[in-house]
């Protein structure tokens, strides 16, 4: 699985996306070679530096201002459950929207065309709407503080501990991997010292999350979301003017790059070898659109934590719906720049620039080659002068920090609520757990920094770290769906389903890793590529989890309905929400989101 060896992640969502996208191949060893061999892409002026400094001052100010609003555990870990639907919704999307995702998917669009938009539309929207409309009532009514917390209520401590420990360990390790990856990008793009980037960004995140808890993380994520759009939106606007509008862009792509379909979402998915990604529509719909997407958006505590902080059930249901509209719009600042780069980027001699993979860049040092992953910085430099360039770079930094803040705030909550409290110190006063949460935040950042340097010196580790994440997503989805929608699911069924589903995922990965020909069995075709393998592996492990949970549950005795109240469909009477005007109703906006989602897919069919 050579392509999988060369992926970097950002937060868990970005990492997940990268797991299923070889286009994200910003190879660490090769990128290291590239950064040594080449000069930086951009040079910042004093005005650009001032823009970046203002941003850091602002996030610290917010953390300091909110430090007195995080005195109880409910305030520190759940933001007091006081967030409005808009704040929770923007934070929900922002925690997943990071700089490496922006850069990686722009590179994917350059390499594969609009196919990359699947990861923003079918790979996100149905799951986000399902979370808001169907699953959120159970998470919210159960008053759980985390996803492992829900597993504890539904299946008992065993399943919860497996989920909590794996989440805490992998979150913090992944945070370090991403920290190093981001510092490496700053080195390649700006020539910044890696240690400087790591220390400054991580200390800022530690300060504002430790001071203000989840409320501070959420406020900053909303700020970062606005900043990402403010910094990145100018590139597609100017790029479209440069390319002669959408019609001009299409014409130039067809003229300059004949032979490959860059402009259609579904037409080339009839067979694995009909598209450059090597995927099939069944994998996109069932693997990406269901197993992976639902696994991430509905069970990953990093994003679910933001919605749990909403101030009412209606807000909690509305937040993912609001987020879905912004998620559908993200391709405008990510995919479109990648497509524009195909026709507007030129070499100094006037010829069309051809970006290449990291392996090619590192194999030809000194030739001035650029990799796919440098699409966004190249486009920024093309259109943005002093000030605007600083704004674009600040958007990248903001994206990284929002992802890292998401990681450490989720880690602090899971560590304190699901590991420390049940297993180490059960009956301490509330202030004690707040203190533990603050220290867990700082500790999380320190361990992340350690992990970043570990990866720097043993870069092969990150291949396995990223693979590890993919092992848990789909089985966790299976366990939670069975627990939430089937009253008969039992404690043993949930535990064994989760465990055997995870083992299945690991086994399939190892099978292909050590015997590449097995790809034809796992992904159903010898023409399948890595992304298809990840999609089908998720689907297999999800199926196994459901089957094992089903069989074991039928062989064991479950809980009476009275003990499932608030946890399971059919045993829960959902609270009646006050009637509101139709334009404030989450179902109305979810229907609009579905219409827009279908429209986009038809428009770019």
């Amino acid at each position: 699985m050579p392509a999988a060896r060369s992926r970097i992640g950002h937060d868990r969502g970005k990492m997940l996306a990268m797991l299923i996208a070889p286009a994200f191949s910003l190879s660490l060893p090769t990128a290291t070679a590239a950064m040594v061999a080449t000069t930086s892409i951009a040079h910042l002026t004093g005005l650009d530096i001032a823009v970046i400094v203002v941003y850091f001052a602002m996030v610290i100010w917010i953390g300091y201002y909110l430090k007195n609003r995080a005195n109880t555990s409910e305030e520190f870990f759940m933001a007091g459950r006081e967030m409005t639907a808009w704040i929770a919704g923007l934070s929900f999307v922002s925690a997943n929207l990071g700089s490496l995702e922006l850069m990686g998917w722009a590179g994917s669009a350059y390499q594969y065309g609009i196919l990359a938009a699947h990861w923003y539309w079918i790979g996100a929207i149905p799951a986000m709407l399902f979370l808001g409309i169907v699953m959120m009532p159970f998470y919210y009514v159960s008053k759980t503080h985390s996803v492992p917390g829900y597993l504890k209520l539904r299946y008992g401590q065993g399943s919860s501990t497996v989920a909590a420990v794996s989440f805490a360990f992998m979150t913090i390790l992944m945070s370090g991997v991403n920290m190093f990856s981001m510092a490496l990008v700053m080195k390649v793009v700006l020539g910044w010292n890696i240690t400087f980037s790591i220390v400054v960004s991580s200390l800022a995140v530690a300060a504002y999350v430790a001071l203000g808890g989840l409320r501070s993380a959420i406020f900053n994520e909303v700020l970062q979301f606005v900043l990402i759009w403010g910094g990145a939106l100018l590139v597609p606007i100017l790029g479209m003017i440069d390319a002669g509008g959408w019609t001009g862009l299409k014409t130039r792509i067809l003229h300059d790059l004949p032979g490959q379909d860059y402009l259609h979402l579904w037409r080339g998915l009839g067979h694995f070898h009909d598209n450059p990604m090597g995927v099939h529509w069944t994998g996109i719909i069932f693997g990406l659109g269901f197993a992976i997407s639902f696994g991430y958006w509905t069970t990953d505590f990093l994003v679910v934590q933001r919605v749990l902080a909403a101030n009412s059930l209606r807000s909690a249901r509305m937040a993912p719906v609001i987020g879905s509209f912004f998620k559908m719009a993200v391709p405008f600042i990510v995919i479109l720049p990648g497509l524009l780069a195909l026709v507007v980027l030129h070499n100094p001699n006037g010829s069309l620039m051809h970006l290449v993979g990291e392996d090619v860049v590192s194999a030809h040092p000194g030739m001035g080659l650029h990799s796919y992953n440098e699409v966004l910085p190249l486009m920024l430099v093309r259109y943005c002068g002093p000030g605007l360039l600083g704004l674009g770079i600040t958007a990248l930094i903001a994206g990284f920090m929002s992802g890292m803040a998401g990681n450490v705030s989720a880690f602090a909550a899971v560590w304190t609520y699901d590991i420390y409290q049940p297993m180490l110190r059960k009956n301490e006063p509330d202030e004690h757990y707040v203190t533990i949460g603050r220290w867990a935040t700082v500790l999380g950042v320190v361990v992340s920094i350690g992990a970043a340097y570990l990866v720097m010196h043993a870069q092969g580790i990150m291949d396995y770290v990223q693979a590890l994440f993919s092992f848990f997503i789909a089985p966790l989805l299976g366990a939670i769906l069975m627990g939430m929608f089937w009253k008969r699911a039992t404690k043993s069924g949930g535990f064994w389903g989760l465990l055997i589903g995870t083992v299945t995922s690991v086994g399939l990965w190892a099978w292909v890793h050590f015997y590449p020909a097995a790809l034809r069995f796992v992904a159903l075709s010898p023409d399948a590529k890595d992304m298809a393998e990840n999609m089908y592996r998720a689907l297999w492990s999800l199926s196994i989890t459901v089957i094992v949970t089903l069989v074991v549950s039928l062989c064991t005795s479950g809980k009476p309905d009275s003990e499932l109240k608030g946890l399971v469909y059919g045993a829960t009477v959902l609270p009646k929400e006050d009637p509101v005007a139709f334009y404030k109703n989450e179902l109305f906006w979810a229907a609009i989101a579905v219409v827009v989602f279908v429209g986009l897919n038809v428009m770019f069919w």
């Binding site: 602002m58 606005v226 943005c384």
Partner: protein, 70 residues
């Protein structure tokens, strides 16, 4: 935004957009006045002027609408 007296996040966003708007619009106007235009594609469109102005207007809107104590 949380139903209490704390400063809404939108106010912070207003502050940031306003500061950035002033900085970027100021640079854009300096470019216009001096003719020292940055060496970027489509520089004749003077993006810093209209993008900075847009940020400033949005920032001021949020500053006023969500000012503390309102």
């Amino acid at each position: 935004m949380t139903g209490t007296r704390e400063i809404p996040i939108w106010f912070f966003i207003g502050v940031l957009l306003s500061v950035y708007g002033v900085m970027i619009l100021g640079y854009g106007l300096w470019e216009l006045a001096t003719g020292h235009v940055a060496n970027v594609v489509l520089a004749h469109l003077h993006a810093p002027v209209w993008w900075g102005a847009l940020m400033l207007v949005l920032g001021l809107f949020y500053l006023v609408k969500f000012r503390p104590g309102r």
